[in-house]
């Protein structure tokens, strides 16, 4: 880099030190949100570029949720672009949530749920990838990114109560899918 931009170099160095350790976290979320390795690559790169560009406006606190929120925005924009109408996407999400809430009320656990058989990682990845988007992202943020409920709320821009109900639904759906998978195999 040119020597006349020491301050910027300093900022770049600070950004690298702070943000790069979370590259795998960001990449994991991108893989689950976009379900395509190439799109995930692009989204993660765009995320780090944007994050770096806006690093001056980062007000401290935990940087991981901040990065994941940027990644999520990149992915949602990409997703909306892929689907002609962004309205349809949000309607789809709402419908998924409504319908899930319906099932939720009547969901009675089966006793055998306590003994889940082991599934290989690829199968579990597929089960998670098949969850509706809003539940999938909440589950991934919790289980793989290790965020607290409050941090998840920050990332997805929703109240903590919404995070809690989505996470409960996500696990119930995953459990049901897991049991169905066991029966098949």
């Amino acid at each position: 880099m040119a020597p006349d931009v020491k301050d910027d170099d300093g900022a770049a160095q600070r950004f690298r030190t702070a943000a790069l350790p979370y590259l795998d976290d960001v990449y994991t979320l991108a893989r689950y949100l976009l379900r395509d390795p190439h799109d995930a690559d692009d989204a993660v790169q765009e995320c780090f570029l944007r994050a770096f560009r806006h690093f001056a406006t980062f007000r401290g606190g935990a940087i991981k949720p901040w990065l994941l929120a940027i990644l999520r925005n990149v992915c949602r924009a990409e997703y909306a672009r892929r689907h002609a109408s962004a309205f349809m996407q949000s309607d789809e999400d709402n419908a998924a949530e409504d319908c899930a809430q319906g099932i939720w009320q009547e969901a009675a656990p089966s006793p055998e749920a306590e003994t889940l058989r082991h599934l290989d990682a690829a199968s579990v990845q597929r089960l998670i990838a098949d969850l509706p988007p809003l539940f999938r992202e909440t589950l991934v943020l919790r289980e793989f990114n290790d965020l607290s409920y409050r941090e998840i709320a920050e990332v997805i821009g929703a109240p903590v109560g919404t995070v809690m109900s989505r996470l409960a639904r996500a696990r119930a759906l995953l459990q049901a899918a897991w049991l169905a998978e066991e029966k098949e195999t």
């Binding site: 880099m1 931009v5 910027d8 170099d9 900022a11 770049a12 690298r16 790069l20 590259l23 795998d24 960001v26 990449y27 994991t28 893989r31 690559d41 993660v44 790169q45 780090f48 570029l49 770096f52 560009r53 806006h54 690093f55 001056a56 406006t57 925005n73 949602r76 924009a77 909306a80 672009r81 962004a86 309205f87 996407q89 949000s90 999400d93 709402n94 009675a108 656990p109 006793p111 749920a113 306590e114 889940l116 599934l119 990682a121 579990v124 990845q125 998670i128 919790r142 793989f144 607290s148 409920y149 809690m164 109900s165 996470l167 409960a168 696990r171 119930a172 995953l174 459990q175 897991w178």
Partner: protein
């Protein structure tokens, strides 16, 4: 308390304070259904091979990011130039006239692209407004203290454009006020900010990534209306907004 799986998950995740945790545990102890649920969800979490389910970023991606990130922040322009001149070892003086065009174009694209992204983000569930209100006397003061400018908030409901609310957004790294209107099922995001590269008072319409964008400058503020509304109606929106703004002393 009654059976509540949401609280069971919060307990398993260690998200309850001591008092609530005791209450929930006491309930679970006396409830066969919830005891089963707790066991089932603990089993599910244990069965998740978390380590194997995480992805590691490919080395090529890491290298690409490491290459791009150290570029100083204000050199989006430089990156563009570098690509343009393949190496960038060209005398800036000789390239000045060409560079100017490249820079303007690049900045403009960035701003328009971010306005479209902000518009798309706003259409996702729960993102449209921070202050949902059809009353401009509610929306306008909401921006006080949140942003260093007073965005013109104009009620055009009587003219077919319903005010839905306001939102704080970011374009090109700078805060911008988003005033949200609706025309039938179409959302119009009117971004108001400074330094968004608008140079004319007369509104100009462009098509960007399939969206119509109408831009104009008024009293030192840059305004960008973004919508999937057809161009005639978006131009009508701009004309009515400007006429109402110049007529009234809001």
């Amino acid at each position: 308390m009654s059976c509540d799986d949401v609280l069971i998950h919060a307990l398993i995740d260690g998200e309850l304070d001591a008092g609530h945790a005791r209450t929930v545990e006491a309930h679970i102890a006396g409830c066969a259904r919830c005891t089963r649920q707790v066991a089932a969800y603990r089993a599910l979490r244990q069965a998740l091979p978390v380590r194997e389910l995480r992805y590691a970023a490919p080395a090529s991606l890491r290298a690409r990011i490491e290459r791009t990130v150290p570029v100083p922040a204000r050199t989006d322009r430089r990156t563009l130039l570098k690509g343009f001149f393949a190496g960038g070892a060209v005398s800036a003086l000789a390239a000045a006239s060409v560079a100017f065009v490249v820079i303007r174009q690049g900045r403009d694209d960035v701003i328009l692209g971010e306005a479209i992204s902000a518009h798309l983000r706003s259409l996702q569930a729960d993102h449209l407004t921070d202050v949902p209100s059809t009353d401009r006397h509610t929306v306008k003061p909401w921006f006080n203290g949140r942003i260093d400018l007073a965005p013109p908030v104009i009620d055009l409901t009587g003219q077919g454009f319903t005010l839905v609310g306001g939102r704080l957004d970011f374009i090109d790294g700078k805060p911008a006020a988003a005033i949200v209107y609706r025309r039938r099922v179409h959302v119009i995001n009117l971004f108001v900010g400074q330094g968004l590269g608008v140079r004319t008072r007369a509104p100009r319409l462009e098509v960007v990534q399939g969206f119509n964008v109408l831009r104009w400058n008024e009293g030192g503020l840059d305004l960008l209306a973004v919508s999937d509304l057809n161009r005639d109606e978006l131009e009508e929106f701009g004309a009515k907004f400007i006429a109402a703004g110049r007529g009234a002393t809001s």
